[in-house]
């Protein structure tokens, strides 16, 4: 376990973390502000990934592909809210769960019809496929570094949007208090649609970023969705700051855990036992972390609406 390797894994953890944050941020706002259980958020990731991949293939240019895909994901969130989601706000959580579960089924199958069940492999853009030395003699894939930077930039952007703009203030004031916001002259319906679309956008960007790193395939969003839910539970529903901290934490624990745990276990179990228990424990690490945090802080690390 060299320093280089450790550093590389730390950066991978950070990359995984900011990707999760992009997904979790929208989710925590939708959940926290509109009290809506949007299980189909993973589908937004998938839509973004597919939009970017196909537009990249169409235009031959990765950056153009992403640029064009972003408004598409924004529109998809906007339309979805308008056509379906807004009819479900008054329903109880179970109804929302079931309806959005139905959406997951529908979108996954739709993608299968449109693009086939096999994974699309999108290539890394040539300009970003090199390596960067984060330390002397420590090369790191440039693309992953870019993902980290994009994620951090988005985080700052979300923070500015929520804390320092009028729209953000309206969002924080409580898009779930119709009477009050209406009295303040705010069109609450448009506000909710906006929050939804922005959340979809960021999730889509996450999808676009990880597309070249993993496979673009139907159902790619669901594992990320569940991890994002864990992030939100740990961070506190409604708190964007909490989502960031928790996302980085989860990304780190998950990535580093898989690498370090077998090593740690090997030092006091035999090789065979460690190699058996290692992967099992590593894949459960994040959930064990979540359970521990819940025991001491049942509503997450950060108070709501942070």
């Amino acid at each position: 376990m060299t320093i280089t390797l450790l550093l590389e894994q730390m950066f991978n953890g950070l990359q995984s973390g900011v990707t999760l944050f992009l997904i979790a941020a929208g989710l925590t706002l939708i959940l926290g502000i509109m009290d809506f259980v949007f299980l189909a958020h993973g589908a937004q990731v998938m839509i973004g990934a597919y939009a970017a991949a196909s537009l990249t293939a169409l235009t031959g240019n990765f950056f153009l592909g992403i640029l064009l895909a972003i408004p598409i994901t924004f529109a998809s969130g906007f339309l979805l809210e308008f056509l379906l989601i807004r009819h479900l706000y008054r329903r109880d959580h179970m109804d929302q769960v079931l309806a959005t579960f139905g959406l997951i089924l529908f979108f996954n199958e739709l993608i299968r019809i449109g693009f086939g069940p096999a994974a699309l492999f999108s290539d890394l853009p040539k300009a970003l496929s090199g390596f960067v030395n984060i330390l002397p003699e420590a090369p790191y894939p440039m693309f992953r570094l870019v993902v980290i930077l994009v994620g951090l930039a988005c985080a700052i952007g979300i923070h500015v949007l929520v804390s320092h703009t009028r729209v953000g203030a309206m969002v924080r004031a409580g898009a779930n208090n119709e009477a009050m916001t209406a009295a303040l002259g705010i069109n609450i319906r448009l506000l909710r649609r906006f929050v939804f679309a922005v959340g979809a956008c960021f999730a889509g960007v996450a999808g676009m970023m990880i597309g070249p790193l993993t496979a673009v395939e139907p159902g790619m969003g669901e594992p990320l969705l569940i991890l994002s839910l864990v992030v939100i539970i740990i961070g506190g529903i409604g708190s964007v700051r909490g989502a960031f901290v928790a996302a980085v934490l989860v990304g780190m624990v998950d990535t580093m855990g898989r690498v370090l745990l077998p090593v740690i276990l090997r030092s006091f179990m035999g090789q065979a036992a460690a190699d058996g228990a290692g992967p099992a424990l590593a894949s459960m690490m994040v959930y064990i972390l979540m359970s521990l945090i819940l025991v001491f802080r049942p509503t997450g690390l950060f108070s709501p609406k942070g």
Binding site: L31, D35, V37, L84, H87, L88, R91, H93, M94, D95, V97, L98, A99, F101, G102, L103, I104, L105, F106, F107, E109, L110, R112, I113, E222, I226, L229, V230, I232, I233, I237, G276, P279, A280, A282, S283, M284, Y287, I288, M290, S291, L294, V295, P298, T299
Partner: protein, 328 residues
């Protein structure tokens, strides 16, 4: 009231359920005459799925707890069979006791950790725990990991499962017993408190009852019923893999319950019948109507579910009640 009277009264109130149970009991006679043994297989699958859905319905429909973790209990029940056989235990009764015990204990642990939260937190936590168990079994290489493990038909002392139909009636008996058990439970003092908690937890507290012990107890019972279903499933399918406990399978159980009618005794089994029949019929239909997209028949399910949620909340039992004027 004597037990028999309660039983008959319950059967009368849930006529759809008992008609279905009677139907399943008599079904092999028909398939025997018509020489359609494949349909027995389908019927067994429906009964098992219906049992698992009934278990979940106790907490979902009657208790109002949206748990995404119940497929995990089905899976644990199934793996109890597989793992026992791995270690040389082939006695089916022991498998069942193990499944009940393991799921009871797991239900207690997960229930205790999760039920102190509520609302969105509860939903997400059960989802996370289900995923955790899924990954656990995926990474247990000696039990097949991702590929799963094959299972021999268990030996039930007295019942030789290799006789055709023995497994069928074993499953039927388990289903019927579970139905009767649930029928007693939902009308009992425990059951009405559970339903009251679903409607208004603070009122229950105001009456001097702490809700948590009731919720946990309900959770444990439902976990055990799902575990039993899982153990029987392993014997039926002769195979178990982590896929059985993927969180989307919990979603499937929820679909079945809502399709059949949430919070009714007959709903889950009726929903299982309709769901699995749809699964058989839809692909055939697609072959005829849109042959190019025949493989994508699943696409219908999503909108059906959304439509049921939006417009037909009472599910099929809601329809039945409207037609029969209140009698289910």
């Amino acid at each position: 009231m004597g037990a028999l009277k309660i039983l008959l009264d319950g059967a009368n109130r849930n006529r759809t359920l008992f008609v279905l149970l009677a139907g399943f009991a008599l079904f092999p006679i028909y398939t025997g005459i018509a020489d359609l043994p494949f349909w027995n297989d389908l019927a067994m699958r429906i009964m098992i799925l219906g049992m698992a859905a009934m278990g979940l319905n106790l907490v979902l429909g009657y208790g109002g707890m949206v748990s995404f973790g119940h497929a995990a209990f089905v899976g644990v029940g199934a793996y109890c069979v597989g793992i026992s056989q791995y270690y040389g235990l082939y006695n089916g009764w022991i498998h069942i006791i193990m499944a009940l015990g393991a799921c009871g204990a797991l239900g207690l642990a997960i229930g205790y950790l999760s039920l102190r939260t509520s609302g969105i937190y509860f939903i997400m936590i059960t989802l996370a725990f289900a995923q955790m168990l899924f990954f656990l079994f995926v990474s247990l290489e000696q039990f097949g990991g991702d590929d799963g493990m094959s299972i021999d038909r268990a030996e039930f002392i007295i019942i030789d499962l290799w006789e055709p139909l023995r497994l069928y009636y074993l499953i039927w008996a388990a289903l019927t017993l579970s139905s009767i058990l649930l029928m007693f439970i939902v009308r009992s003092r425990f059951g009405v408190v559970l339903q009251a908690i679903k409607g208004n937890e603070s009122r229950v507290e105001a009456m001097g009852l702490a809700p948590l012990p009731f919720k946990i107890t309900g959770y444990v019972i439902s976990a055990m019923i799902c575990g039993l279903a899982g153990a029987l499933f392993a014997s039926w399918q002769e195979y178990v893999s982590p896929d059985i406990m993927h969180w989307t399978r919990s979603g499937e159980l929820m679909i079945i319950i809502i399709l059949g009618g949430l919070g009714t005794l007959s709903g889950p089994l009726l929903g299982a019948v309709v769901f699995l029949l749809l699964e058989e019929i839809l692909p055939e239909l697609m072959h005829v109507v849109a042959p190019n997209y025949a493989e994508n028949w699943m696409i219908i399910f999503g909108p059906i579910l959304i439509a049921v949620v939006l417009f037909a909340r009472g599910g099929l039992m809601g329809l039945v009640q409207r037609v029969t004027g209140g009698r289910t």
